[in-house]
């Protein structure tokens, strides 16, 4: 929907007061001139990866950023992991000649397959957008690692996933971007016994914006979701985190939880946190928690008692929150890259 030459993205599944300006993120539309370059390396050579080509259906799966950016994704590629196959794919997303770019990646993880997909953003453009949609068939495991430490002025990172029975979808995302980031992810836990974990770490630099939207739709029975976001805002930084656990009628035995911890390190910060639980099923559990503020006094005392200054203590804590993600990343090369980027930034 276009409003005064802006589009609404990362929308909440249900509205709240408009005056809070949290129902969606507004951004200016643009038209990518070229596809992003996507260099893909397969570790085992099991997954079939197509070339980037004009695509006709980039909206087969609902995503977190939403349909208002469908028109960006005119070039796409397909990754297919065969039944019971296992592979690790590393993708570098770049921009040829620094032009505005976009790309669409469709992942089909067949029954019983296992895929680790590492996406590293290296685009340097005014606008770079990537949409990744995943269909995980019964018993598949998909691990998605996304590292945004690029220099694009504005990145859109859009993910959608539909899970089959007893599938596992694990996402780790690290945001150290030099520019503004719009990041949305939606997972429809359609298959009974499927699970979704989404762990995000971020560091938002002065005068930059990070807008996140994470949606876990529990549809199948005995589904699980775990959404975590930990990050730090520097002076003048702006961040919005929308997290939704939607326990739909029929998802008996399901459980969803979400948690966000925000460390505020500068003045003039804007932190918006909107953790939703929507529930139309009785036999479920849902929980969310959030803590927002500067370094806790007890922790600061601990550091200072050991001769560590407040600013140094803040760095240590900010870093620790991001390093946690490295430890949770199963792919060693990705973890090492994340660690290096964190060292560079902090």
């Amino acid at each position: 929907m276009m409003e005064n030459n802006t589009i609404r993205v990362n929308a909440l599944p249900t509205l709240t007061w408009h005056r809070l300006h949290v129902n969606a993120c507004k951004t200016e539309p643009y038209t990518p001139v070229k596809p992003c370059t996507v260099q893909t390396v397969s570790e085992n050579g099991v997954a079939a990866v197509s070339a980037l080509e004009p695509c006709t259906d980039c909206s087969a799966v609902e995503t977190g950023v939403g349909r208002n950016v469908d028109n960006l994704f005119q070039w796409g590629m397909t990754v297919t992991v065969p039944e019971n196959g296992s592979d690790t794919l590393r993708m570098e997303i770049g921009s040829e000649d620094g032009g505005d770019c976009a790309a669409f990646v469709h992942v089909q993880a067949e029954a019983g397959s296992e895929l680790t997909l590492v996406q590293i953003w290296k685009a340097d453009a005014s606008h770079a957008a990537l949409r990744t949609v995943i269909r995980a068939e019964a018993g598949a495991t998909v691990r998605l690692v996304q590292i945004l430490a690029d220099a694009s002025a504005e990145c859109i990172n859009d993910v959608g996933c539909v899970t089959g029975e007893k599938t596992s979808f694990e996402v780790i995302r690290l945001y150290l971007a030099q520019g503004n980031v719009i990041s949305g992810i939606r997972t429809d836990l359609a298959g009974n016994g499927s699970s979704f974990t989404c762990k995000s770490g971020y560091l938002v630099k002065p005068s930059k914006k990070l807008d996140m939207n994470v949606i876990a739709n529990h549809i199948g029975k005995n589904t699980q979701s775990d959404i975590q976001a930990d990050g730090t805002l520097y002076d003048g930084a702006e961040k919005a985190f929308r997290g939704t656990i939607d326990l739909k009628r029929g998802c008996a035995g399901s459980e969803g939880k979400e948690e966000e911890n925000v460390l505020l390190l500068g003045d003039d910060v804007v932190n918006k946190t909107i953790p939703l639980i929507l529930c139309t099923e009785e036999d479920v559990k849902g929980s969310h928690g959030a803590s927002i503020g500067e370094l806790e006094q007890g922790m600061l005392f601990y550091f200072e008692a050991r001769g560590i200054s407040k600013s140094e203590a803040e760095k240590i804590v900010a870093k620790a929150r991001l390093e946690k993600l490295c430890q949770e990343t199963a792919d060693e090369k990705a973890a090492e890259y994340m660690h290096r980027k964190i060292e560079e930034v902090i």
Binding site: T14, N23, I277, K285, G289
Partner: protein
Amino acid sequence: MKEKQQIADIDRSVYDIKDTETDAYKIDAGLTPALVEQISKEKNDPVWMQQFRLHSLQIYNELQVPDWGPSIDGLNMDNIVTYVRPNTNMKTKWSDVPEDIKNTFERLGIPQAERKSLAGVGAQYDSELVYHNVRQEVADLGVVYTDLESAMHGEYADMIRKHFMKLVPPTDHKFAALHGAVWSGGSFVYVPKGVSVEIPLQSYFRLNAPGAGQFEHTLIIVEEGAYLHFIEGCSAPKYNVANLHAGCVELFVGKNATLRYSTIENWSKNMYNLNTKRALVEEGGKVEWVSGSFGSHVSYLYPMSILKGKGAKMEFTGITFAGKGQNLDTGAKVVHAAPDTSSYINTKSISKDGGISTFRSSVVVNKDAEGSKSSVSCESLMLDAQSQSDTIPAIDVRTRKADVGHEAQIGKISNEAIFYLMSRGLSEEDARACIVSGFADNVSKELPLEYAIEMNNLIRLEMKGSIG
């Protein structure tokens, strides 16, 4: 089964008493400038108020119906009668109130409560107060507790004009504008500096006329260092047509003053309850909201606190029980606008028989509110798979020197807990009612005993027939 029927009939009838309509005056249904002028004339408004009403109507016509909450499509303002004057003027002696109205309030226990545990009582019937009284010893302290219309023409006229709809301006939302246009009845309370009113004041609002609206305005000013506990109760018999409640509460809490505002809302289930409550708290002051929402077909209710002065505090304790045919959207809002302010929101909600309960909140910490703290906790209980329970909080923090925490949980009654109670001789129904009452304990322990009992009775009534 027989017992269930008897209990339901006996208890519900207390609220479902329908008096024969013997109104002295009833305005035509709908909303036009002529009708608003007519209300103004009936109420003998000063000129500024008449202009205020017409201006509010203009704003009402310009604003949109909210698109973010429960549907109010069933509410047609063309069918709502905005002013019904009962067949009596306001009395200060209970014996002077007409017999039929008196009987209604006596069944609801209002005069009994006044004798036992209240410092003063106001009773509104449809659009006007029919009884208002305050104990002499409380009045001797300089406490003013009267109807707003009288106050507007007396020595407090300037104070009313200075404060009326300044906290909730007509531009706030469509139904605040509606209230500004057609408000009638309500109370004015003034507690002078340093005065502590040890026992509560209560206003009770009763809407009898089918298809009518009630638009009472409550204005409370608690001066520096003073204390007041104000209780608000409301009910109506059930009709087949929509009724509307669009009241407004404005609370001004002075420096180091404390105001506790307790509400047990039990409107009938054909009621659209679109109420607005707001408090402005000065330095070191505190507002405490205690809110039980049991009735209404649709509710929009989010008491808001603006913590304006350094060190101002707010506590909100609420429970919402949404049963069959109910869509209750409730919660709280707070703005931390000064340093070292604190807020604590603690709510419980229960959904049953297809009822929809939504907890909605906003915590805004402004840039200047350094050293502020906020904690929000909400728990929801789903009693069956036909119901719905949503939690929609929003947090907006603009200073690093804040400490904001939020937690929420949703779930069902554990089978182990029911089994435990049943193994000790309770029926499953009583076991569930017992657990739900315990779940609501945070609110009931904040209420005076008589009201806590009423609330627990309401929960038990709602829980009857919950099995099978």
